[in-house]
């Protein structure tokens, strides 16, 4: 079994109202040097795969199909555990 970490982030230029609200809050708290905050998703997936490459291929495919929406989001996958 492999464990894959999937990071989903909004594409550059896509408005992130949640990130904007958090940024403003940080500024109000005194973190005046915070210029931008973008909020994405971190998804952990445990899966069966024949090999590391297979696990990566599966994770890429599921990211493209469901975990991220390619219209607004970019993703990257990383195998973190497995034989």
């Amino acid at each position: 079994m492999y464990k894959v970490d999937v990071f989903v982030v909004l594409k550059p230029g896509v408005l992130d109202p949640k990130g904007e609200a958090v940024k403003k809050s940080l500024n109000v708290m005194g973190y005046e040097g915070v210029n931008e905050v973008r909020i994405g998703k971190f998804i952990e997936v445990w899966l069966d795969a024949e090999s590391r490459e297979d696990a990566l291929r599966q994770a890429e495919k599921m990211s493209k199909e469901l975990l991220a929406n390619p219209v607004i989001e970019d993703y990257r996958v990383k195998i973190v555990e497995g034989e």
Binding site: V14, L15, P17, K18, N69, V71
Partner: protein
């Protein structure tokens, strides 16, 4: 005319649509559970509003993999009329039946309000009973209705005349001031190139009777019914 109203786990405007089709429009309405795979007996399909699958991951992201969605695609490919309202619009976007995606409202608030829309095209099955440039008043209720697409897609939507409804002032001014959610180009509803699949965030089924404060939504369904009757003649 036979309307199929798709019910996903978490749909909550299905009963309103059913009521409008059956008791207001006096046409045939049927609920279609999302596990169904055949829509061939219907003349039109409605994807209603709600929170399919709790909007987990992204609004509409999981619903698009329901078995019925392959049937919706097939139905649309054959030219059948499909209207996605609110969550139904989000599902159509996720399924790729319409271009673009929805973001969280710019204000971060869930907005439940009455807004004005400008009807920019009247040669479609969904809008031909409106007059060109008519401004209608219609309810919205969503947290993720901030329509987004890249600049190329926006250009293609414009040049193919796919933008059907835009948020506007009561006089029809499409200004940022009258944009409730931050949608690009004030977009409230778009149609596919072929003209048989419409997605809109506002709720026509919530303003189809005078007792509910307005009847502008009535014309959307009446247009569809009228169009189908003309086509079968």
């Amino acid at each position: 005319m036979r309307f199929g109203i798709v019910v996903f786990p978490g749909s909550n405007c299905d009963a309103d649509c059913y009521y409008v089709i059956k008791d207001v429009m006096h046409e045939e309405a049927f609920y279609v559970w999302h596990k169904e795979r055949d829509l061939s007996s219907f003349d039109a399909v409605i994807l209603p509003g709600g929170f399919s699958y709790g909007d987990y991951l992204r609004a509409g992201a999981i619903a698009r993999f329901s078995p019925v969605m392959s049937a919706v695609k097939e139905f649309a490919d054959k030219g059948g009329l499909v209207i996605g309202i609110c969550n139904g619009f989000q599902i159509l976007l996720e399924a790729g039946l319409l271009p673009g995606a929805m973001l969280r409202n710019k204000s971060l608030k869930f907005i439940c309000d009455q807004v004005h829309l400008k009807v920019s095209r009247t040669d479609t099955p969904f809008t031909h009973l409106f007059s060109e440039g008519e401004v209608i008043k219609i309810p919205i209720a969503h947290g993720e209705g901030n329509y987004y697409c890249d600049p190329e897609t926006l250009e293609s939507l414009k040049s193919n005349r796919q933008i059907i409804f835009t948020y506007s002032s009561p006089e029809g001014l499409e200004d940022e001031e009258y944009n409730p959610n931050g949608s690009i180009a004030n977009i409230a509803g778009i149609i596919n190139k072929k003209g048989n699949v419409l997605g809109m965030m506002p709720h026509p089924e919530r303003c189809s009777e005078a007792v509910l404060g307005g009847t502008d939504g009535f014309k959307v369904f009446a247009s569809m019914i009228n169009w189908a009757k003309e086509a079968s003649r």
